[in-house]
Amino acid sequence: MEQATANSPASGATDSGAFPIERVRAQFPTLEREVNGVPLDYLDSGASSQRVLASIEAVADYERNHHSNVHRGSHTLSAEATELYEGARNTVARHLGAGDRREVVFVRNATEALNLVARAWGDANVGAGDRILLTEMEHHSNLVPWQQLAERVGAKVEFAPIDDDGLLDMEALKIFLERGPKVLAIAHVSNVLGTENPLAEISAMAHEAGAVVVADGAQGAPKLPLDMAALGVDFYAITGHKLYAPTGIGTIWGKLDLLRAMPPFLGGGSMIRKVTREGTTYADVPARFEAGTPAIAQAIGMGAAIEWLDTELGMEAVRKHERAIADYTLARLAEVPGLKVFGPPRGAGRLGPVSFEIDGIHAHDVSEILDRHGVAVRAGHHCAQVLMERLGITATARASFGVYTTTEEIDRLVDGLEDARRVFGL
């Protein structure tokens, strides 16, 4: 497989030295385009990031030269496709610090990853009267599957509260954990508040209370170095399209013994050991959870994007960049009259996105006017209506960042907000 140009490998992967922002931006073709006659200012990476050239080219190379169905084929193309697909699994496993490559299951996205756990693990392990603990900051993808599980088995869903700064209330969490929930499902990083939850500490607390920890890493994985053992979680869901890779691919990482004890999620090809008229015995993991022909090209694209992140930048540098941009955004937005930010103040544990509202202008109108300036932000409830209710609002505007985000782009956001205030006569 051809990799995209890597002219000075790992030069940005050290902690010292400036973030190679120009070199990074050159790897994202979409950033070259204009919107409404001005350069695109893409502040919606939390919804979906732009695609890195290494991923685009890996997908194209696969589609042009290597495509066949994976597994079981004894011909050359099938062998190549299998090698590339399983190579992507190796890359994800290494990136996550997985103890075993079989712990990485390819799925469609983080939503499917979390549904897989709620179905396959949940149905087998959560019963009538059991408690399921979530937090108030969960995205619907880590909330609805658990409500559905609770409905199926007669369990009870509880929500650990956040404090007024948008941080998880650790004292309250402790009390909820003492009630003995079977599972704690929690976002690593909030998709609205930019809160980084202290997962290692939380996992230790949850395990002491006997709960399995399911982490939604959709927002965390693109911003943070990951080490599953250090985080101590039992399951961790990630999605490719927020990681500079295509849509339609994600992974659920799970501890090997947990995955092996779980019944299948979907039935079909690939997930079987033997099928007879009387019944079926199932394949070992990860194949057991990958029924049907997988998203081969997309998995390869995800592997390539992660490979690029790890070799060209290193996730420590990515984390530093994300913190710096979030910090700068919070400082600049504090200058806009009537603007209120939701989420923790500047500091450790405060990443993007940055959600806000402006007194007198609805979030939809903010985003509409920003778009005229080429600034792409998201407006709405961000699939977190329980959190919106907690905050007493229906919608926010949200700026979210990627490895390519610059402080100049944040300045343009602030200029656009000034224009929105002018249009609304504020």
Partner: protein
Amino acid sequence: MDELYRDQILEHYKRPHNFGVVESADLEYEDTNPFCGDEQHVTIKLDADDKVSEIAFEGKGCAISTAATSLLTDELTGMSREELLRLPKDYVLELLGIDISATRMKCAMLGLKIVKSAALGQPAEWEDEGEAGTPAEAATF
């Protein structure tokens, strides 16, 4: 002048007409724009001939949805439930007098949808994005 946020739209957004709740309403409906979570609640009082004598709305929304419902509710007094149900999408668009993009069509149509749902006593559904869909056909008794 701003094309979308012209003075009339902003005026209706900042000081919406018919804002509130009609006491002892005969018809009422509440719905959300699933797109963004915005909510509107419409209450209608009918006269002896079953025509709209009083109408009000409340809720939280963007400039487009708020202005559209403010303008719409200004026009509905004296209409029968059948007339409410036959109101086309263009009725609201002409009241707004601005180009509404496909992404904002749900905002513009939220109030009309709720008025029709109130008249129907059940959710009035039509494909309201872009050019497709005729609410007059979708919402019949």
